[in-house]
């Protein structure tokens, strides 16, 4: 049972990490919460569903299409709505909440009320020592999540675009003096965050089910993760995601859902009392 709990914790942590990554990125660059994050998660899941189950594209082709299309959607969203109001914290928040409400409500009209399933091309069950089992699709989604996260690290930490994004985050005026178009850099960062959300939707939807509300719960979890990790800190959110994964797994298995949930929240609050800025947040 221990082995199973550990494996489940790792899988859940990887999934949480993936869902939180885009949110962390957008918060990190713009210091703005994107309450529409769950909508992009849902749209990514829906896009994958329609591409695979309706049009009949192979799964990984569909995911690739998501990677191609969502930067455009993200940039359009940033240009059309977010840019004008991001300077005012509450306006940015309210506008994205508005988009969330609108899109979710609209989603039920457009996509219908029936819950949908996307199937992952790799199936089967992996038996691990200690009597634990791991469905192959979960293993792969977890591994892809880790690979995507490594990509995000590389991009933010090692590339010119990443440097520019961090420069804009630390001081947009100084970034302009370096010759960086701060508005354009933010649009790119936002598009990247949106694409990560959609990609998370396309991957995670294969494990669970798809409907117009399927992004809300993961998003609220992602919020807890970025608060716990230290707002905008990518490493912090990775650590927090795995902490939460293990809390959910060990808590749920040892104590049952309710007690485990209660203990988990207690632990999160405890960490925040000792480190209010989050695990990796600035003091």
């Amino acid at each position: 049972m221990f082995m199973q709990m550990a494996v489940t914790g790792l899988v859940l942590g990887s999934i949480y990490m993936l869902v939180a990554s885009g949110l962390t990125l957008i918060y990190g660059i713009m210091h703005q919460v994107n309450m529409a994050h769950g909508v992009f998660f849902m749209l990514g899941a829906m896009a994958t569903y329609y591409a695979t189950e309706v049009i009949g594209l192979p799964y990984f082709v569909a995911l690739f299409a998501v990677v191609l299309v969502f930067p455009i959607i993200g940039a359009a969203f940033e240009r059309g709505i977010f840019r004008n109001i991001r300077h005012i914290w509450l306006a940015g928040y309210m506008a994205t909440v508005g988009v969330w409400m609108l899109m979710e409500g609209l989603g039920w009209q457009v996509f219908g009320t029936e819950q949908k399933a996307v199937s992952f091309p790799i199936t089967g069950l992996i038996r691990l020592p200690g009597g634990a089992v791991l469905p192959a699709n979960k293993l792969w989604v977890g591994l892809i999540a880790i690979a995507i996260m490594a990509g995000v690290y590389y991009l933010v930490g090692r590339t010119a675009l990443g440097r520019q994004l961090r420069a804009v985050e630390q001081n947009p005026r100084a970034a302009e003096l370096m010759g960086i178009n701060a508005d354009r850099a933010m649009a790119k960062g936002f598009a990247l965050g949106v694409t990560l959300a959609a990609l998370a939707g396309g991957l995670v939807s294969t494990l669970y089910s798809v409907d117009p509300s399927c992004g809300s719960t993961p998003m609220l979890k992602a919020f807890i993760i970025i608060i716990l990790g230290g707002l905008g800190n990518v490493t912090g959110s990775v650590i927090a995601a795995y902490i939460l994964g293990f809390i959910d797994s060990f808590g749920g298995s040892l104590l049952g859902y309710q007690a485990g949930h209660f203990m988990g929240f207690g632990l999160v609050i405890l960490i925040l009392i000792f480190k209010p800025s989050g695990i990796m947040g600035d003091e």
Binding site: R163, N171, E176, L177, M178, I180
Partner: protein, 238 residues
């Protein structure tokens, strides 16, 4: 044709007017200092040239091109770079990353690495500490980084804003010496905001005295040093 020409510039912040029709011009290779009390409008002039502060009326010309109204990130590409007041290095990035960012407007990677070598030669300190987070460096080191970073765009004109702020005189002297070297060896034109009047008059060929958003006196540095006004108010001599 002057390298930089500012004509009757009016600029400000909200209802407040910071510059009331300022005109000045810089020739290629010149070293000019701007002197003035706190709030006189020195930084505002620098920011108007950089494109951070929009003009309300008047014109800014650089190498025969009218640049007022341009976005700041485009102006860098023309060869104007700023060493901003308060240094504004990126604290959570390494020295090397800060320098790389300075070269954002350059496309040529060979030129970039040559510049980096030159900057490291001018400031060996930066070479030693290229992996250190900029925010953890001393004030003097950060100022060196800010100057080094401004060189990374291979500028024709450097606008420096209060290099001496909060630094020990020896370090300040060091940094100005480097700037003068750049002026002589690279032919870079300098427009230096400096509150330390003595310094301002020493490092520049000519000097403008600013009061409440207006230029009230201008002239060669040695003549200005002798003027009654400057001596009384800024050099605190009697």
């Amino acid at each position: 044709m002057s390298l930089l020409e500012i004509k009757q510039v009016v600029a400000g912040y909200g209802p407040a007017v910071a510059l009331h029709g300022v005109s000045l011009s810089l020739e290629q290779g010149e070293r000019v200092s701007l002197l003035g009390a706190n709030g006189a409008g020195k930084s505002s002039i620098v920011n108007v040239v950089s494109g951070l502060l929009p003009v309300r009326s008047g014109e800014v010309w650089f190498q025969g091109e009218r640049i007022d109204g341009w976005a700041a990130h485009r102006i860098v590409g023309l060869g104007i770079s700023q060493v901003p007041e308060g240094r504004l290095v990126f604290p959570k990035m390494t020295v090397w990353e800060n320098l790389e960012l300075g070269a954002t407007s350059l496309k040529d990677t060979v030129q970039k690495s040559q510049l980096l070598e030159q900057v490291f030669e001018l400031f060996p300190r930066l070479a030693e500490r290229h992996k250190q987070m900029a925010g953890t460096m001393s004030g003097g080191e950060q100022q060196m980084l800010a100057v080094g970073r401004s060189l990374m765009s291979r500028p024709k004109l450097i606008l420096s804003d209060e290099i001496s702020m909060g630094l020990a005189p020896l370090v300040v002297r060091d940094i100005y010496d480097t700037l003068l070297r750049i002026n002589q060896e690279w032919g870079v034109t300098l427009l230096m905001v400096e509150q330390e009047a003595k310094l301002a008059l020493e490092v520049a060929d000519s000097c403008h005295l600013l009061e409440s958003g207006r230029i009230v006196a201008s002239g060669p540095a040695d003549e200005m040093a002798k003027s009654e006004l400057v001596r009384k108010v800024y050099l605190a001599e009697d």
